[in-house]
Subunit: 239 residues, 2 copies
């Protein structure tokens, strides 16, 4: 629907590089992560709360957006993330798990993550939505390989969302091209974000409170970081 | 879906009074307002931007909500308002009107309205969502009577949304029952909100830049204010 409604705007889309560099990262993540996947209730509860956090960041971008066009385009991305949240709540109900109880253990850490990564202004918030949303969606799609197969497929499908990448990249490229100083600030911001995002991803791999060793985790993070670097490239920033 | 997912929570719902006092206000509004309805493009553009503002207020409530339960319930209300926004954008496309151009004339006034009515904290934001959302939805549903009939019916249907009234009232009653001081502050806040909301509603009745006389507007506003008073009653506040 987003394409149908907004895809013919006056902004030149052709110059925007590939903004959905998911496939390689996900393929590796699926192989490497399957054994580390938490139990369905834990996975679904954490991801359900995470989609609320991604929603909060996107809705902040809507609020800060300086144009009507950006507001309405970003609101579409927000709706998409909310649909994923509701689908996850429905999965928890289907599994006869109380959604609120399943999300609750992740609230403090993810609220803290949101506060650290929300950004100080509109460009920083856009970068957050783009980088943390992309990284964590890739990561949880990879982890879904370790869920019971029918559930894993449904979750992978509901995570296959655009999250407004096209409008995020277009807005950011316009701003970055206009200011070398902004480009430099956002490059630093992107590096900080990937650090915080990796910490959140790693902490969700603990099994019985114990984190797996580096040798288990490193290959998958290498791929997720490559995807992150491609996202930075798409913005014209150095990772 | 909201009821199905969250309606069986532990919070006592039975004590919550009627929170959807729309029907009388809308019936009168439809009779009185039909002749004052702006052209479809103007009506749709204004309402589309207004739904973005209602979304921004609800998403602020999600962000400020102190519990996981309130966050996920309010996110459902937010999704509902976004669906209305998207349906209005689709109506503008169907009418071969550029949605951004149609919304643009209303941005400055409605952004200013949002800033004045967003509230300083979680309870004030909830009151804003409940009172301004209710009032303006009633008002625009009334105005829809003056649109071409098929369009008017579609717009009335898409405005027939709950906007989280149940969770808004439940959260507020809990807070108000716990603090007489908060009750007094929110009663004042509610009075200020209705003033600002009426100004926005009135300004959308201008025809060719001229506001209709008091004698045309008074009957419908009397009914809309009665509905507002019933909303305040539902919170246990004096209007």
């Amino acid at each position: 629907m987003w394409r149908r409604l907004f895809g013919r705007g006056s902004r030149p889309r052709a110059s925007v590089p590939r903004v959905h560099p998911r496939s390689e990262a996900i393929a590796v993540a699926r192989d490497e992560l399957a054994e580390l996947t938490p139990k369905p209730k834990v996975y679904l509860g954490q991801l359900a709360y995470l989609t609320l956090v991604l929603f909060e960041n996107l809705s902040r971008a809507v609020l800060l957006a300086p144009t009507t066009e950006a507001k309405t385009s970003l609101s579409r991305a927000t709706a998409e993330v909310l649909e994923a949240h509701e689908a996850l709540i429905a999965e928890l109900h289907t599994a006869r798990v109380d959604p609120v109880a399943a999300m609750e253990p992740f609230r403090a850490e993810l609220d803290d993550f949101r506060r650290r990564t929300q950004g100080a202004d509109y460009p920083e918030t856009l970068v957050s939505c783009y980088l943390t949303g992309g990284f964590l969606t890739d990561f949880f799609t990879g982890l879904a390989a370790g869920l019971p197969s029918a559930l894993g497929e449904r979750v992978s499908a509901l995570l296959d969302i655009d999250q407004g990448q096209e409008v995020l990249v277009a807005e950011l490229r316009t701003a970055i091209n206009a200011s070398a100083r902004l480009a430099s600030r956002l490059a630093m911001w992107g590096r900080r974000l990937v650090g915080d995002t990796m910490l959140v991803a790693r902490s969700s791999l603990s099994i019985g409170g114990v984190l797996p060793g580096e040798e288990r985790i490193e290959p998958v993070f290498t791929e997720l970081i490559s995807a992150h670097t491609r996202r930075m490239d798409a913005l014209g920033l150095t990772a």
